[in-house]
């Protein structure tokens, strides 16, 4: 996809001649415009604010119906939620905020359930390896949260409040205002609580008992601040920060109806970003982004002694990084190049790793687009997307990550009743890698022994697909992708003598499958239908020991099939008070997941359905959006992860007021 230099008109209606140069947006994974027919990769764009219903509150909610994504949900609002793409682990998807890394260096994970999206506008999911742009850990793909503020000239205040089952409450207050003609600020603050004492069914053979979930409560505070300064007609500076603080129960897996745990988990996370952009000429631009990311996590169990001490683990990470990019385009954008570099320093401390550990990284990358147009052909054009990145990471050899993508677009045509038929074929191939986490390198408690000699995991990714869209009683869009990933040197924890375990580069895994996506929107956007299907085969292909019977078995918790369907109806009114009324029915299918490496045990497949009613009202100058949602409407009893029962039917009601 082309690196794009954007010089936009402001959203201001009062002065349409004002120009705001935006930061360079690398279209490969950051571009907010629709990605069909523009990228060699399979990209899903999720809008967080559809102006009809209140905003999606957390990242797991936003991603749960996206093709190719499996959310490993450890149940309830407080349960940890991690992501899996293309049969790989949670540590193989890189989570970004405005293109900058926020995935944990400590354990490689991001808990999607506690990342607030109140300041976000979109989430862009790029499936497949992206180390050529982002360096380490972007092996299965990336998830990029974009928070570009929708400033206008008016002061705006908003309040969102939610109540729901199991004592759930959530409130968020946000405000934004112009301070001067060239300077705007905005921010928000929110709190969330829930008891999560939901009933679930415990099955043991022919005996089923109803049990109440315990020690699953959650208390959270979160906030954000953003500002934008137009320095002159060619340059701007924007600052964005976000923070969350959570304290929650962390119940064990349920293995008896009487099981009670007392573990507690606390997370504190803060990110500050400053982005400067400068338009050098009509086709050239420069941007620099600086970020500092602080993360703290504490896990304690008052019932668990290790060597005489109670289990009370904590870690603190601080990651400071800077990324600079220069982009240039010519010949009306047919040839584009982005060259950049980044540097980071990450430090870690905690009582479960050696003290004073840190890691420095330097990266340099170059991406490009070359487009060749055709006049007298069914082809509209062919584009090539080469990219190369070099990473120099402390205590590791330099790593090169090449990538090549191709996009073949066909001319738009009409076929019978079908109008505006567009199609394209795309393909990409890349080499990617994941660096060992601090835990894997330096862990020292509870029997775990870190291995400082660990090498990066390496993978080769390939995908090929087609995009089709046309008009026939509305707009139809179809996207289909075949993917394959081959990973070696995969890190696995093995016995190290006594009660100790240590990680080693041992395994070779392969995954392949299909991601298919279809959407239809009727004329006037009254009806919408979205359907996606993912199949994934992910297998270990190396022996852990001679005669290992788990070779060529499906990896744990990788469903071979997933699908989602949602159908929505929205009625717009010209009335003074009621502007829209809508409803949406969604159902998701997750196929069975193996829970033992020899595939002898599994969790059954399940359907989870929800129904949502929403409305938008305008009362004087106050816009009101409401949503009533029934989740797990058919009251299914199921588990995503063994031993972590999901809530049965539950409800929530959200009101959002904007002034």
């Amino acid at each position: 996809m082309a690196p794009l230099i954007v010089n936009c008109q402001s959203n201001s209606q009062a002065d349409s001649g004002k120009v705001y140069p935006l930061p360079i947006i690398t279209v490969r994974a950051n571009q907010p415009v629709p990605m069909m027919f523009r990228s060699p990769f399979s990209v899903s764009t999720i809008s967080l604010d559809d102006s009809i219903a209140p905003k999606t509150p957390t990242l797991d909610n936003a991603l749960s119906s996206t093709d190719g994504i499996f959310i490993k949900d450890y149940s309830g609002l407080s349960g940890i939620k991690t992501i899996s793409q293309r049969g790989l682990g949670s540590e193989h998807t890189l989570i970004l905020l405005n293109g900058m890394r926020i995935s944990s260096f400590e354990n490689g994970l991001v808990d999607l359930g506690i990342i607030p999206l109140d300041a976000g506008n979109r989430v862009i999911v790029t499936h497949g390896g992206q180390s050529a742009e982002y360096g380490p850990d972007a092996v299965g793909g990336t998830v990029n949260i974009l928070s570009q503020p929708n400033f206008n000239d008016n002061t705006k205040i908003g309040l969102t409040s939610t109540i729901g089952s199991f004592g759930r409450t959530r409130s968020h207050l946000n405000a934004e205002t112009p301070v001067s003609e060239n300077f705007r600020i905005g921010g928000g603050f929110g709190v969330e609580k829930s008891e999560e004492n939901y009933p679930f069914l415990f099955h043991n053979g022919n005996i089923t008992s109803t049990v109440i979930r315990q020690n699953s409560d959650l208390v959270a505070q979160f906030g954000n601040f953003n500002s934008s300064l137009l320095i002159n007609s060619l340059s701007s500076l924007s600052i964005f920060s976000t923070y969350y603080n959570t304290e929650r129960g962390s119940p064990n897996s349920i293995s008896s109806p009487d099981a009670i745990s007392h573990q507690r988990l606390a997370d504190r996370d803060g990110v500050v970003q400053a982005a400067y952009s400068l338009a050098l000429s009509a086709g050239d631009a420069l941007s620099v982004t600086v970020q500092d990311h602080y993360a703290y996590e504490r896990y304690r169990d008052p019932d668990f002694f290790i060597g005489g001490n109670l289990l009370d683990d904590y870690f603190k990470n601080n990651d400071a990084r800077v990324t600079g990019k220069f982009s240039s385009s010519y010949d009306e954008g047919k040839f584009q190049i982005v060259a950049g570099a980044d540097a980071s320093e990450t430090s870690a401390e905690g009582n479960s790793i050696n003290t004073g550990v840190s890691r420095s990284e330097l990266g340099a990358f170059m991406t490009g687009v070359s487009t060749f147009s055709f006049d007298n052909s069914v082809l509209s054009g062919i584009s090539f997307f080469p990219a190369l990145r070099m990473d120099m990471i402390e205590k590791s050899s330099p790593v090169f990550s090449p990538q090549l993508g191709g996009l073949m677009k066909f001319k738009t045509t009409d076929i019978g009743f079908i109008n505006n038929f567009q199609s394209a074929i795309r393909a990409s191939m890349s080499r990617n890698f994941r660096m060992p986490t601090f835990n894997e390198l330096y862990y020292t408690t509870g029997g775990g022994i870190g291995n400082p000699d660990l090498q990066p995991e390496h993978s080769t990714s390939f995908d090929a697909g087609t995009d089709v869209s046309f008009n026939l009683d509305g707009r139809h869009e179809l996207k289909a992708t075949y993917f394959m990933t081959d990973m070696d040197n995969r890190i696995t924890w093995v016995s190290a003598g006594g009660a100790n375990v240590t990680p080693k580069n041992l395994r070779h895994v392969q995954s392949f499958g299909w991601e298919i996506n279809y959407a239809w929107h009727s004329p006037g956007d009254i009806f919408s239908l979205d359907l996606n299907y993912t199949s994934t085969i992910a297998r270990k292909i190396s022996e852990d020991y001679p005669g290992d019977p788990t070779v060529f078995k499906q990896l744990l918790y990788v469903p071979e099939e997933m699908a989602n369907i949602s159908f929505g109806v929205t009625k717009h009114f010209d009335a003074i008070l009621i502007r829209t009324l809508g409803a949406k029915f969604r159902t998701g299918y997750t196929g069975f997941r193996y829970t033992s490496e020899d595939n002898a045990s599994f969790l059954p497949s399940f359907y989870e359905s929800s129904l949502e009613f929403n409305s938008r009202l305008d009362i004087s100058t106050v816009g009101t959006r409401m949503k009533f949602e029934i989740r797990n409407i058919f009251n299914k009893d199921y588990q995503v992860i063994l031993g972590y029962p999901m809530p049965m039917r539950y409800y929530s009601f959200t009101v959002e007021l904007d002034y």
Binding site: D303, S495, G498, S601
Partner: protein, 359 residues
């Protein structure tokens, strides 16, 4: 258009789940009456699994007919499962006490119908090793993460007392009104608590080597302790006089020993058998044989990767369990006193503990 789309969508949706969920069930078999020589094998099952095809199981082996009966508990109790991670088992008369560590429960089965008699759950501590005091009719189990020993009434399973011991207690042995408790500390502790069975209090604490994990009583009445070691200290075996509490011998190994409370046993001829380790595996190692009186060690007496062992005191045969890395059914080998293999039979997932009933 919308109707056509919905119909097509429903048709496509109905194709979902064409890949059907696998089907699993337990082995249906009936244990006949009149078995006079019974070997019980407690199969640990996979950690975190409480009621599926790889969770803990009880297997019965008819020593006379060489017949194996699987899923004993399920067949006798309407498909109900034992629970999560079967870590220990004690046979006392016509009762079988089974300890489930991750379910935190003790279950009593009646022999020979294997019906559930009683079960008790405990809310914390991760129970690991079980011992029966036949004189005082009490059960003892170690709370591996709670640093205590819980004392139970052997019928009601009500708690009589909690006794504070060292870190992460594992193996237990009883001799001369004393209960010996291995305090493993995950390899960081090195002590052995000695509890007076009359006062139910710790009389003394002995210092051994790192990671005391399993205990047995030798044919001459000594308490024999296997210390697994840790990342920097190798394993060792101690023999302790149960009266004077003196350490009468120590065998130092050049590798770790297996960190498992069921990794040591003794025969009736003065020999002790202990499980070693194999690099990179969680599921045990070769079996070493020690003749304490002669001070002789036979390394790799049984070559392979073994997870559990026990001597049948009725026949002096050594029963050893290969868990096959918890991938599929485990295999039990019966070793004659001369070291030759007498018989091999299949057990279930993660065999680890034995009990013998000879009538």
């Amino acid at each position: 258009m919308m109707k056509r789309l919905l119909l097509i969508t429903l048709a496509l949706w109905s194709l979902l789940g064409c890949k059907k969920d696998p089907i699993t069930s337990y082995t249906q078999n009936t244990v006949p009456g009149g078995i006079t020589r019974t070997v019980y094998v407690l199969n640990e099952g996979m950690f975190g699994h409480y009621a599926d095809s790889v969770s803990a199981r009880l297997t019965l082996y008819d020593y006379n007919t060489k017949t194996v009966y699987k899923d004993i508990f399920e067949n006798a109790n309407n498909g109900q499962h034992l629970g999560d991670t079967g870590d220990d088992m004690v046979l006392a008369g016509d009762r079988l006490f089974i300890l489930m560590s991750n379910s935190k429960a003790i279950t009593i089965l009646h022999i020979p119908d294997y019906k559930l008699v009683n079960t008790a759950s405990f809310q914390s501590g991760s129970p690991h090793d079980l011992m029966y005091d036949a004189v005082r009719h009490r059960l003892f189990f170690t709370n591996f993460t709670g640093n205590t020993i819980t004392v139970l009434n052997d019928t009601s399973l009500s708690t009589v007392k909690e006794i504070q011991v060292g870190s992460n207690p594992e193996g237990l042995a009883i001799r001369n009104d004393k209960l010996f408790v291995c305090n493993s500390g995950f390899g960081a502790d090195s002590t052995l608590s000695v509890i007076n069975l009359n006062t139910l209090s710790v009389d003394t604490t002995l210092v051994l080597s790192m990671g005391p994990t399993s205990a047995t009583v030798s044919s001459d009445g000594h308490i024999v302790i296997a210390c697994a070691g840790n990342f920097t200290v190798n394993g060792s075996v101690y023999a302790i006089d149960p009266v004077t509490l003196a350490k009468t011998s120590k065998i130092q190994f050049s590798t770790n020993l297996f960190f498992n409370s069921g990794s040591i046993t003794a025969d009736t001829s003065g020999n002790v058998f202990v499980i070693g380790t194999v690099p990179n595996t969680y599921t045990g190692g070769p079996i070493h044989k020690i003749n304490l009186a002669a001070g002789l060690v036979f390394l790799n007496y049984c070559q392979g990767v073994f997870y559990g062992l026990s001597v049948n005191r009725y026949t002096n045969e050594l029963f050893i369990a290969d868990a096959k890395n918890f991938t599929g059914d485990g295999v039990i080998s019966i070793i004659n006193p001369d070291g030759t293999i007498k018989e091999v039979f299949s057990a279930q997932r993660g065999p680890s503990v034995f009990a013998f009933r000879w009538q």
